[in-house]
């Protein structure tokens, strides 16, 4: 499966080169500040993990990078050019693809339709040109086979696949369509141990192929398995920002669990 990701990945990726740089980025929804002064760099060939509890601002961060909501403060640079995305399409066009936890696919649509959704192959350029269904079925079939995702029938609704398989189809799709930056939103949150393992392997494969990966999670164990750089958000602010060499799993877990707050709480609850 790593073969395919490596084949697919864009040629111009050089490990360590910054792809996305966020500088002092913030977002306010009316009077509510969901995100404040966040600096984040996504390098090619590295996994940047963003950790945080519910309401920490993780989703807001993703929405800014993936073009769903524009940021209201700070600067967002992609490949050195300042950007202000108005729609997910604009983000996609710069090579930023997002795989959402439960929004990754349209459950009632066939596997191959999901694979090509938004980037359909057509037999002509005119409006209402027929789709090249045969080609799309074959490509989706081959790609998934090669990645070790075994679906019984490429025409079955994708809702009939397991959660892990759906995530993998979504990741495979993003990579196939030339993503340079892959944002994974809680890819393992709803999955069992085995399924999570499959998704983590894909994450590592994407990293090895030179893609910049943003891995959003609230599970420090999963993050530590693949991450090169860790950022912890709390109430919209950055509370930790360290390289893998500077932090241990225990430190991450403690910080995620609430650190000082948790120590106080456990003291209070002690009988």
């Amino acid at each position: 499966m790593t073969d395919t990701i490596a084949e697919r990945a864009a040629r111009d990726l050089h490990r360590g080169e910054p792809l996305v740089e966020m500088d002092g980025v913030g977002k306010a929804y009316g009077a509510i500040r969901a995100l404040e002064d966040v600096n984040l760099t996504v390098n090619a060939g590295e996994v940047t993990c963003v950790l945080g509890d519910n309401g920490a601002g993780k989703s807001t961060l993703i929405k800014i990078i993936s073009g769903l909501h524009p940021h209201s403060e700070g600067t967002l640079r992609v490949d050195g050019t300042e950007r202000h995305f108005g729609s997910p399409r604009e983000a996609l066009d710069t090579g930023i693809a997002t795989v959402y936890q439960d929004l990754a696919v349209v459950g009632l649509m066939e596997v191959w339709r999901n694979f090509f959704l938004g980037s359909e192959i057509r037999k002509g350029r005119y409006p209402l040109a027929p789709l090249d269904i045969k080609a799309m079925r074959e490509i989706a079939d081959t790609e998934l086979q090669k990645m070790g995702i075994h679906v019984k029938d490429i025409n079955q609704p994708i809702g009939t696949l397991s959660g892990g398989q759906r995530q993998c189809v979504a990741i495979a799709r993003a990579v196939y369509f030339g993503a340079r930056v892959l944002i994974l939103d809680e890819p393992t949150a709803a999955l069992g141990v085995k399924q999570s393992g499959v998704v983590l392997k894909y994450t590592a494969a994407a990293r090895d192929a030179g893609l910049g990966v943003v891995f959003i999670t609230h599970n420090p164990h999963h993050a530590y398995m693949v991450g090169d750089h860790f950022v912890i958000l709390k109430l919209g602010r950055r509370v930790l920002d360290k390289k893998r060499s500077e932090v241990t799993l225990e430190e991450l877990t403690a910080e995620m669990a609430g650190g000082q707050e948790l120590a106080e709480l456990s003291h209070e609850l002690k009988r």
């Binding site: 073969d3 395919t4 490596a6 084949e7 697919r8 990945a9 864009a10 993936s66 769903l68 729609s87 997910p88 399409r89 996609l92 997002t98 959402y100 929004l103 990754a104 696919v105 349209v106 459950g107 009632l108 649509m109 339709r113 090509f116 959704l117 938004g118 980037s119 359909e120 057509r122 409006p127 209402l128 040109a129 027929p130 789709l131 080609a135 074959e138 490509i139 079939d141 081959t142 086979q145 090669k146 070790g148 075994h150 679906v151 019984k152 029938d153 490429i154 025409n155 079955q156 609704p157 809702g159 009939t160 696949l161 397991s162 799709r173 196939y176 369509f177 030339g178 090895d208 192929a209």
Partner: protein
């Protein structure tokens, strides 16, 4: 990483990997499984049942002229129902479709009569009006995020009031004057309301138009990119947006398609009767929705078919006419409708669960 010598760009399909682990061979799902996964199955079974029922119960139902009659009744529902079905697959409702038909017909009739214009001018102007109503519905829905049920319910009341109020203001009555003496009426009638002799059977041209719209709707849904986008917009809007589907444009387009079909039916009614009652059309919005739902469209969006809406409309047409042919009290029709809808929703629920079950 051993085979990462590939140099092709990401837009070209890659050659099949030779070193891939042996995968279990792909297998087609069983024929039954695939057939049952189609949205139209329930409606097809129901249509056959209704046909056989009236075939047995009413001897006059068996003749070809009777077929022409119930097909015509079906077409007057089915034309708009195609659009409504597509819209519902796209995840939205249109409660204003019934009165929009009347609005289109009234616009054309009054404009032409009052200004003594060629009928085709009214046809074109009313098309613009109908598309504008559709656009407004769609724009309000995507712009405000208010459920389309409420937006189009408002449009429904607004149009219903306008239909009556403006007609009363302009003509002093609740119906438009007869326009059959105006220039262009005959050619417009030929297009929208003539009878076509097919040798064995004489059909109203609307039936043929209906078949065309169903064919186009099916083609768009299953064979074009837009169709993919419609399913995705209704099935999972956020996901569709995230992969770059222009969900807003799709939805506005669908509302305009309903507007177009409402206009078409409005033109048919006008050319058929050459006058329009300002109060008609109320209640038909539900008939269109029921036809779509009976045809397998899910109320929650993302699933359904154009052919299904046609079968739904056909069930309707056969029942309204069948009751007459059988000489029964037509008041029972609504009861039948309710039972039919409930059954359809139950079948759809079952089918959806079947289709979504893990295999």
């Amino acid at each position: 990483m051993s085979s990462s010598v590939a140099t092709q760009s990401s837009s070209q399909p890659s050659p099949p990997a030779t070193g891939a682990p042996a995968a279990p061979p792909r297998q087609q799902r069983s024929l039954l499984s695939r057939v049952l996964a189609r949205p139209e199955v329930g409606a097809l079974a129901a249509a056959v049942a209704v046909f056989l029922f009236f075939y047995a119960a009413a001897p006059t139902f068996r003749s070809l002229p009777a077929a022409s009659t119930y097909l015509y009744a079906s077409a007057t529902i089915g034309i708009v129902a195609v659009g409504v079905a597509l819209l519902m697959i796209g995840g939205e409702f249109d409660l204003s479709a019934g009165v929009a038909v009347t609005t289109a017909a009234l616009t054309a009739a009054m404009l032409c009569y009052q200004l003594s214009l060629n009928v085709w001018v009214g046809v074109v102007v009313s098309l613009v009006v109908a598309l504008a109503i559709g656009f407004l519905n769609g724009w309000l829905v995507v712009r405000t995020g208010i459920p389309s049920f409420l937006v189009t319910l408002s449009t429904f009341f607004v149009l219903q009031g306008l239909n009556l109020g403006v007609t009363r203001l302009v003509t002093g009555a609740v119906a438009t004057p007869n326009i059959n003496q105006l220039d262009g009426f005959d050619s417009a009638r030929a297009v929208f309301a003539s009878d076509v002799d097919l040798g064995v059977i004489t059909l109203n041209v609307t039936i043929l138009w209906w078949a065309l719209f169903v064919a186009v709707g099916t083609w768009v849904l299953l064979r074009t990119r837009v169709g993919n986008w419609i399913f995705a917009s209704g099935g999972n809007e956020a996901s569709a947006r995230a992969v770059g589907v222009p969900v807003r444009k799709v939805k506005i387009g669908l509302f305009m398609a309903v507007g177009f079909l409402a206009w078409f039916l409005g033109m048919h009614l006008l050319m058929n009767f050459s006058t329009v009652q300002a109060g008609i059309g109320v209640g038909n919005e539900f008939v269109y929705i029921i036809a779509a739902v009976v045809g397998g469209a899910l109320l929650t969006g993302g699933y359904g078919s154009a052919v299904g809406s046609a079968l739904g409309a056909l069930i309707f047409g056969m029942t309204t006419q069948g009751i007459v042919f059988a000489g029964w009290d037509p008041n029972w029709f609504r009861t039948f409708l309710g039972v039919m809808l409930l059954l359809a929703v139950m079948v759809n629920l079952y089918v959806k669960n079947y289709a979504a079950r893990r295999k």
